[in-house]
């Protein structure tokens, strides 16, 4: 804001006029209620009166939450998969094992030792 083009015409202020212009008041006291009115408007729009969380914290928080959730889901899935391999993949084998034990028990009945006195 520079007055770099003041001498362009003959309507230029005279020194006396310029002095009067410079004497004009630069400040005017606004009505007292304007401050409260302005602050109310700013409060309503969320610019003042509450703690504003910076955008980078919100974005960072969302990214961190997503990473933690994703990592938890992966670990959980992996653990669940590993545990279910024997129980789900070989029900037949388990049945066979039981049958084998039964048959083995029949083939070699437990010996009974009777001692007579």
């Amino acid at each position: 804001m520079r007055n770099d083009d003041r001498s362009f015409d003959e309507s230029e202020w005279t020194p006396e006029e310029r002095a009067r212009l410079a004497d004009l008041s630069t400040h005017r006291v606004p009505p007292g209620e304007l401050k409260e009115r302005t602050m109310r408007a700013l409060r309503d729009q969320g610019h003042i009166g509450r703690r504003r969380i910076p955008a980078w914290i919100i974005v960072g928080g969302l990214i961190a939450a997503t990473l933690v959730f994703g990592a938890g889901a992966l670990v959980g899935y992996a653990a669940a998969t590993r545990r279910s391999v024997p129980s789900v993949a070989s029900p037949v084998a388990a049945t066979r094992a039981v049958a084998q034990i039964d048959s083995t028990a029949n083939a070699t009945p437990a010996a009974r030792h009777v001692v007579w006195y």
Partner: protein
Amino acid sequence: MTHYFDPSATDDDLLRAIRRDGSERAFGILYDRHTPRAYQTAWRILGGSQADAEDAIQEAWVRATASLDSRRSDAEFGAWFRSIVAHVAIDIVRKQQRLELDADIDAALDENEESNERLDLESAIASLPAGYRAVLVLHDIEGYTHEEIGTRLGITAGTSKGQLFKARRAVRARLAPRIEERT
């Protein structure tokens, strides 16, 4: 969160507190520091209308606080805020369809002359048609260049110079009788 701010805290400290915490205390100090100067600017551009000047100040503070993040940190806050106020004041004049840059300034002044009332400088400026008044206030009082005024008002720098020429002549015409009376 409540902070204590020394009233002599720098603008940058206050702005940081407003951005970080929405501090009302910091805003209050900033408001007290910069509003009287900006209110005068709005009051002049708006031809002495108190209600319009108040609206301009409120709207300017809303715009300023909303765009603190985009403000250049090396820019002086007071000047930056007053430029917003000038912008808002011109918007208000434009909305009221009073920004007639091709208004017949001589006819407007003739109407005033009929009252045969001699004005002081402040009143002479206020009596100008809105478009002329805006150019004169922005250039001769606020220190804007014609290029900057042209950008704000949507006119060329040449038009701004022409407006200023007529505005000065009109103000001088209103003041001349007083000067003659004194001499």
